[in-house]
Symmetry: C2
Subunit: 360 residues, 2 copies
């Protein structure tokens, strides 16, 4: 089949890691008889440099017309990059928030997996790791504090700033359904995270999630307060299968979960809407400090490409092949510097990409 | 001197642990020639059972008249306790939120300390622990999402819920000043945590904190995004001295930090306003599952009493004596079950209290 894939190299290490993912996609196309047509799009800092804004209408239109978007990472060093002297709505991250909204990417899937071979990199003790862990954060991505009304104004001579956290039942229902659907294909457990002892939005969240759960009698549901979840991720990460939560809590908890694995260079993500279209990107940032050095780990982006094959193109077998190749390379002892350990062979970005390609 | 101390035993293990802290205070009074008059007050579940509401005007008035309030812990099992069938504003936690606001307790200090003797209980690997860590979370406690307007309503046939996150510059300034003041007495570093790449309230937060920092040239300030902070607490907790943040972020991060120590039964907290009055309580919850068994760790409450001596009564020497006694008992190898380890002597709640009293 013929597919149109939009590529957003982005900033920092973005272009390097996207190049490797593209090699992997090319190998998949060759092996399985597909044709992938790529179109490079601008977003974030690269877009600011070229056009003055972090996201243009052209990028939005082209992304909408594509079958899927694969992104590197965007943004730069927030203290030294000139992008961060711009007004907030002109900074790289504003482009990312805007494309999420424009493409209606309400469902953000972030797996946090501890690979057997990388246990030593996990910051947690072996007793805590136990049999390991493999969870998926299902984060609502187009609502809540991120997209509510906000304003800064003077009142009685005092500057005051307001952000608004709003959810309606439909926004909650559609992400909850995604959470239960994916849990059904996994270990059949959903932990819904909220702050229902304080927030009205969390009380509505809990009620709607409870209603959705009624349609999934085969999936276990538990509710957990966000502060407790932040503790449990450190105390016993193995207890989680799918964590279902709203936008801001998901931002915090998914980063915590990814660090708990100790291998953030391995973690992919998918942002989906209610069509097949999705945006795929590594969970890590643009790491400007190592950009251009050829040492960045491309695996998170390659695994994001695997998610793209699975979720947007329905190519499960091809996705499996990519994931298997990544596991194989780890097993053979190849490591980029971020996941290196004694007795392993250290390789650079391009070499890691090549090794994976060769195993597909 | 003569001091009036309000005691709120609270729910679950609350009464047991407060009783031990009271013994310790009595010993301090005896040794240093003070007189502590106690008044027991109702809050939370105990108040609901006795009066129908989680906080009465009498409790508020008596707390305001006291020199300081020492609290156990409140609330019960959220799935089985009848308190959680009540409307949200009638549940135990609502009483806690209300007393914070009524007493204007805007500054919540939560130390997260790794005791040398308890390193084995820390879930993090020794390499991550390094030389250990000792941080203080300075959480804003009377603003933000916790106390903004909220409502749930129908709109176009859809139920919608809204919470509001508001801060004015004065609310930020006063907590920032507290953060810098305490950092000055510690390792002179403030990490201000916000989500300034998204929220207006965080951008104002960052601006005001920056202004306050100008008056503390001897204290280093860094800004960190909340998602990054959730990662750094796991990756390298030793980097933090004082973490300064708003209410909801502080709730999540302080719980994460306390779990990172692995000894939540050891962690105290203080909630202060702009007078000497403060409310002191352990960082942990009411642990209804072990209530009445005489095995709860009273140390967090005893250390909260030490904070009370220090911050509300200005009795630094007395506070030091309590803290030294706790360290001594740990050194001698006495442990409650939550912090037990091989070769140590396991003791119950009252025995631990007695051991500490004997060492003052
Ligand atoms: C860059 C930032 C706006 C973004 C977010 O907060 O969503 C990032 O942290 C993420 O998690 O993708
Ligand atoms: C009980 C709850 C309302 C409270 C809070 O969120 O502030 C608690 O979690 C805490 O941190 O003291």
């Amino acid at each position: 089949m013929n597919y149109h894939i939009a590529l957003i190299p982005g900033d920092g290490i973005g272009p390097e890691i996207v190049a490797e993912a593209r090699k992997v996609l090319d190998r998949i196309a060759e092996k399985y008889g597909h044709e992938f047509e790529y179109q490079e799009l601008l977003l974030g800092g690269a877009s600011i440099d070229a056009t003055g804004v972090p996201l243009t209408d052209e990028t939005v239109a082209a992304a909408k017309k594509s079958d899927a978007v694969l992104m590197g990472s965007i943004g730069g060093d927030t203290t030294t990059s000139p992008w961060y002297k711009l007004a907030p709505e002109l900074r790289p991250e504003a482009g990312l928030l805007k494309i999420r909204k424009e493409l209606n990417l309400f469902a953000n899937l972030r797996p946090a997996v501890l690979y057997d071979e990388l246990k030593a990199a996990c910051p947690l003790r072996d007793e805590i790791i136990g049999d390991g862990f493999d969870m998926l954060i299902m984060r609502e991505l187009t609502g809540g504090l991120y997209f509510g009304e906000r304003k800064t104004f003077e009142e009685n001579g005092l500057t005051t700033a307001v952000d608004t956290l709003t959810y309606n039942e439909n926004e909650i229902r559609r992400i909850a359904i995604r959470g239960f659907d994916v849990a059904r294909k996994r270990r059949k457990k959903v932990t819904s995270v909220d702050k229902a002892n304080v927030l009205d939005s969390s009380r509505l969240w809990r009620k709607v999630v409870q209603e959705v759960a009624a349609d999934y009698p085969d999936v276990a549901l538990e509710h957990m307060l966000v502060d407790n979840c932040a503790m449990q991720l450190v105390k016993n990460p193995g207890q989680f299968d799918v964590i279902l939560t709203e936008n801001m809590f998901g931002d915090i908890l998914s980063d915590e979960a990814s660090m708990v694995t100790g291998s953030i260079g391995m973690l992919s993500s998918a942002s989906l809407n209610d069509t097949k279209l999705g945006l795929y990107e590594p969970s890590h940032g643009s790491a400007p400090d190592i950009a251009g050095k050829g040492i960045a780990n491309p695996i998170a982006t390659i695994l994001s490409a695997a998610m793209l094959l699975r979720y947007s193109l329905d190519l499960d077998q091809e996705a499996d092949a990519v994931e298997a190749a990544v596991k194989q390379v780890l097993k053979e002892g190849y490591r980029t510097v971020d996941i290196e350990s004694e007795g392993c062979a250290q390789v650079g970005t391009a070499q890691m990409g090549d090794l994976i390609v060769q195993r597909i």
